[in-house]
């Protein structure tokens, strides 16, 4: 838990743009909440790697959202089943069902459909809210956190230095 908090602080305190962090977390939300081995996750992974988002935030967010996904599975199942069995949508789903690409995607699974819709629906709001929160944090809390003893000890550690040098590649610039 402490490690996770430290990692969060590390990311928040980094020189990454708030947009890079919140975008990474939004991507990780989609990948984390939907079944991991789904083909659409490859696309999100490609986007996360190709665009300059904070990879540390992406990996951390993935771990957190994956845990949350297990708790939300019943909700995803309910959403997915409702959408998939909705009469007005039947035509669309039938067309998709007959397309190989979508069959590979396994869109007709209730949990996958529910989680994908849920995460896509929250993608923009989460991005905007996180962006706002990071900005607020940096403006009002960051200085105070940097001055705390625990942060000083942490930033002076070898682990932090090694991590810092590696994370240079991960999106700061």
């Amino acid at each position: 838990m402490l490690t996770t908090i430290a990692k969060v602080l590390k990311i928040l305190n980094s020189e990454s743009q708030p947009g890079q962090i919140s975008m990474a977390l939004s991507f990780s939300m989609v990948v984390g909440l939907t079944p991991l081995l789904s083909p659409h996750n490859l696309l999100f992974l490609l986007v996360a790697l190709l665009f300059r988002v904070n990879l540390s935030a992406f990996i951390l967010g993935l771990a957190i959202f994956k845990g949350v996904a297990y708790l939300l599975d019943p909700l995803f199942h309910w959403i997915g089943l409702s959408i998939l069995t909705a009469k007005p949508m039947e035509g669309l789903w039938t067309v998709l069902y007959n397309a190989t690409l979508w069959r590979i995607e396994r869109f007709n699974n209730s949990v996958l459909m529910g989680s994908l819709l849920f995460s896509l629906f929250l993608f923009v709001p989460v991005y905007l809210i996180l962006n706002l929160m990071i900005r607020q944090y940096r403006e009002r809390v960051l200085e105070w956190v940097r001055k705390t003893r625990i942060m000083k000890v942490f930033t002076a550690s070898k682990l932090y230095k090694a991590y810092h040098s590696l994370s240079e590649w991960g999106g700061t610039k």
Partner: protein, 594 residues
């Protein structure tokens, strides 16, 4: 643009994909192996093991080495053991999550092979009936008729003879009647009364030369005496009639009592003599349990294999009767898969054709199975199979063909025909009955079996013709009975056994008939006849001996009525004589009175 895009990320993505592909290629075989073992174990309810699985990409297919399927009832035995299985898969349909196997070749398929380690699993997925019971434990047991003649003396000690009871009651009645008649004789006119009449007549006779008025008085008196005598005679006659009727009745009852021992003999013979019931259909009682065991085993496997040819589906219909998207629960996955109408419907799993080489005890048989799928309703073609083999190690020819039609899952239509010619049999235990085990030491057999199922109704007919057979009963003991049975069995050279099964899957009847019925029935019937005659003879002698005494007493009691009869007769004679004297004397004597 340069600030937003991280080209190194593309390299990283490619690296991740490459790493995933390598990982997949390294572990996919193990993964497939595990999936097959796990799913197979779940379906069968016992360990399904695979030595190796090899997935090839060009051409796309799967090669399985030694697939062992444990028999759930015998964990140390494999139900089926397949040396090598080669599958050619349709890759495009696999991407659509449809396992379409264009061709499957199975080599070295053997049945009932031994396992080195137990293949039992802790949990059975399906509730299967306990079919592990030995055939002998099932069905009604055959009880060979005992040919021991029952001990007649023991029977007579236990049983109450009705004839004796009848004689006793008749004797009591007779004694009472004798007493009653003896008392009645005292009331009837006797010698003294007749002597009185005689004296009165004599007195009238002794009076001579009397006047006319006194003569008339005498005549009146004489007439009065005659009337009295007549009245007494009437009483005696009436008693005589009653007595004769009684005697007639008692004699008739005595005659009946004389026949009563015969009734006792019949009753005791029926009760204790050797029974022939249960030997009317020996084939049923001898072979029934074993045939039932085989049929139950076949039905258990039919039920176990049902998921391969039929999937449980929930077809939902809306208010207008149109089919709604179908919801199918995957075996193990989160959520449910919703199915929609396909333009070109294909089953989720289909083996279009399976070439199979079976290594059974009789020899190697080759055949084909077409259209193996649990979604026959989607494919619209039934599963069909055909196997055949000629000049086998143990048979001249074997031919098996059939069809499992579950296109309409609620109205399945299955049929199978098996024909075996010249099957060479050695030491086949035909009956495990404790009373009459039968072993077919040597022989040849032709089998013609046809099985069908329509809905829940099943019917089967199997005609097995055995020829050049050597039958024997290996029952312990060298009693005369066993020798006789063995002699009867050894005389059989040809034997036909017909099995007919009808009913439903859960409640069916098995009817068996064979030549053995006739042979053993004749033998047993002859034995029973001889022993029953002996028993009847002994019973007759013993009962006759037992009733001889009481019956003699009954006859002497009946003789007691003779003295009463003679008393009545003598009184009647005396009265008649007296009356005759009066009548005879009347004209002359009366004249003399004047």
């Amino acid at each position: 643009m340069k600030g937003i895009i991280r080209w190194k990320g593309l390299i990283a993505f490619v690296a991740v994909i490459a790493f995933g592909t390598v990982l997949w290629l390294c572990f996919v075989d193990d993964f497939v192996e595990r999936i097959i073992e796990k799913a197979g174990t779940w379906i069968v309810g016992a360990k399904v093991e695979l030595d190796d699985a090899d997935l090839s990409l060009f051409p796309f297919g799967l090669n399985l080495s030694r697939l062992q399927v444990t028999d759930p009832d015998k964990p140390m035995t494999n139900t089926v053991d397949i040396k090598r299985t080669v599958l050619s898969l349709d890759p495009l349909n696999l991407l659509r999550r449809k396992v379409i196997i264009e061709r499957m070749a199975m080599e070295g398929v053997r049945f009932g092979t031994e396992r080195k380690v137990s293949g039992a699993v802790a949990r059975m997925p399906a509730d299967t009936e306990d079919s592990s019971k030995e055939p002998g434990e099932k069905g009604a047991g055959f009880k060979f008729p005992s040919f021991e003649v029952p001990d007649v003396n023991e029977i007579l000690k236990r049983e109450e003879l009705q004839s004796l009871k009848l004689v006793e009651s008749l004797r009591i009645e007779m004694r009472e009647e004798i007493q009653s008649w003896q008392k009645r004789l005292e009331d009837l006119p006797n010698k003294k009364d007749f002597d009185d009449y005689q004296n009165r007549i004599e007195e009238l006779r002794s009076t001579k030369k009397i006047d006319a008025s006194r003569l008339l008085g005498k005549a009146r008196k004489l007439n009065s005496i005659r009337k009295d005598i007549k009245r007494d005679l009437d009483n005696i006659k009436s008693a005589r009639k009653e007595f004769d009727d009684l005697l007639k009745l008692l004699k008739r009852r005595t005659d009946q009592a004389a026949k009563a021992p015969l009734e006792d003999i019949r009753r005791l013979k029926d009760k204790y003599s050797l029974q022939g019931q249960g030997v009317s259909n020996i084939t049923q009682v001898l072979f029934g349990p074993k045939i039932s065991y085989w049929v139950e085993g076949a039905l258990v496997w039919y039920e176990r294999l049902r998921p391969v040819i039929e999937r449980t589906k929930q077809i939902q219909k809306d208010s207008e009767g149109k089919e709604e998207p179908e919801v199918i629960k995957p075996i193990r996955a989160k959520g449910v898969d919703v199915r929609f109408k396909e333009k070109k419907p294909l089953p989720d799993f289909l083996i279009k054709m399976a070439d199979t080489s079976l290594q059974i005890k009789a020899g190697d048989i080759k055949g084909k199975i077409n259209n193996i799928t649990p979604d026959q309703d989607i494919l619209g073609i039934p599963l069909s199979f055909a196997f055949s083999g000629d000049h086998l190690k143990e048979a001249d020819s074997v031919k098996l063909e059939g069809e499992l039609n579950h296109i309409a899952p609620s109205k399945p239509k299955d049929k199978a025909n098996l024909r075996i010619r010249g099957y060479r049999i050695e030491n086949l235990v035909m009956s495990e009955s404790k009373e009459l085990p039968i072993v077919l030491k040597k022989g040849l057999a032709d089998l013609k079996l046809s099985v069908s199922r329509r809905g829940d109704v099943i019917s089967a007919n199997a005609l097995t013709r055995f020829y050049s057979v050597q039958l024997l009963s290996p029952k312990e003991g060298a009693g005369s009975l066993i020798k006789a049975v063995n002699s009867s069995l050894s005389a059989i050279r040809n034997l036909n056994i017909n099995v007919e099964i009808s009913g439903t899957l859960k409640d069916y009847d098995i009817r068996l008939s064979s030549d053995l019925d006739r042979v053993l029935k004749n033998f047993i019937g002859k034995q029973l006849k001889e022993q029953t005659a002996r028993f009847e003879k002994e019973l007759k002698v013993a009962i006759s001996e037992k009733v001889k005494g009481p019956f003699g007493d009954l006859k002497s009691d009946l003789d007691g009525f003779d003295s009463i009869s003679s008393v009545i007769s003598s009184r009647l004679e005396e009265g008649n004589k007296l009356l005759k004297n009066i009548k005879g004397e009347h004209p002359g004597r009366l004249k003399s009175l004047f």
